[in-house]
Symmetry: C2
Subunit: 118 residues, 2 copies
C-alpha cells in the first residue's frame, strides 16, 4: 500500500488501532491482516489506511472513514468479526482502539512527496 492515505478535506473519521503482537502464528496473522486491508477497502465509506509495525511487535493502524456509520458497519462485517475474535484470543497481547473525528489535516502532498500543502 502507499505510505500516505489520500484522505479528503476534513471532517472525516479515523480509527486509531494500537496493538501489541505476540510471537506466535506469524503466517496466520499476516494472512489475516492482508485480508482485512482488502476487505476494508471494499467497505462503503472507506477512505484509506496507514499501518506500521515495529520490531518489538507494537503496531499502529490508522483507517479513515467517511462517517461513524461506515465504521459501525465495518465493525459488524461478519468476516471482520471472526478476525476480531481471533485477535483477542490469539494474536494480540493487548490493544487500544480509538474512534476520532478528524478536524484538520496538513503536511506534504500525499501524491507529490516533498510538496507542502499547508
Amino acid at each position: 500500500m502507499p505510505s500516505f492515505a489520500a484522505t479528503p478535506q476534513p471532517p472525516y473519521y479515523v480509527v486509531a488501532f494500537t496493538s501489541q503482537r505476540g510471537d506466535d502464528d506469524e503466517a496466520g496473522y499476516g494472512a489475516m491482516a492482508e485480508r482485512m486491508v482488502e476487505l476494508a477497502a471494499m467497505q462503503p465509506g472507506y477512505l484509506g489506511i496507514e499501518s506500521v509495525r515495529g520490531d518489538d511487535g507494537l503496531g499502529i493502524t490508522l483507517s479513515y472513514w467517511q462517517s461513524r456509520e461506515a465504521i459501525r458497519q465495518w465493525r459488524e462485517n461478519a468476516e471482520h468479526r471472526v478476525a476480531q475474535q481471533l485477535g483477542r484470543q490469539k494474536w494480540y497481547r493487548g490493544f487500544r482502539l480509538r474512534i476520532a473525528r478528524v478536524e484538520d489535516e496538513y503536511g506534504t502532498d500525499a501524491q507529490v512527496p516533498g510538496r507542502f500543502t499547508d
Copy 2:
C-alpha cells in the same frame, strides 16, 4: 515508554503524525525524537504518546491532548518549532499530520494487558 497511553475518558484530542524517514542522520534524528517526547510530556494538557517506526522508515506517532488549545501551544513551542523546520528540510521525505477529537475508546486495559475494558 510503555506501549499504550493511559488516556482518560473521551472526549480528548489526538495528533496523528504519519511520516516517511530518509536514511540520513540517524543519530541526529534519534536524539531529536527522544527530546521531543520529553518536551511534549512537560507541556500543559499532554495526556500520553504511542509511537512506532517500521523497517521501511514509515512511522506513526499518536500524541494525546486535553484540548485543541494544548495542541496549539505545543505546536508553538520554540524548541519544537526548530525540530519541525529540521524535519521538513532534512529528516522526513514526507508526512501527514491530522488533528482529531477522540469520541470513543476501548480495548484491553492499558495497565493490565489482557483485561478487556469494553
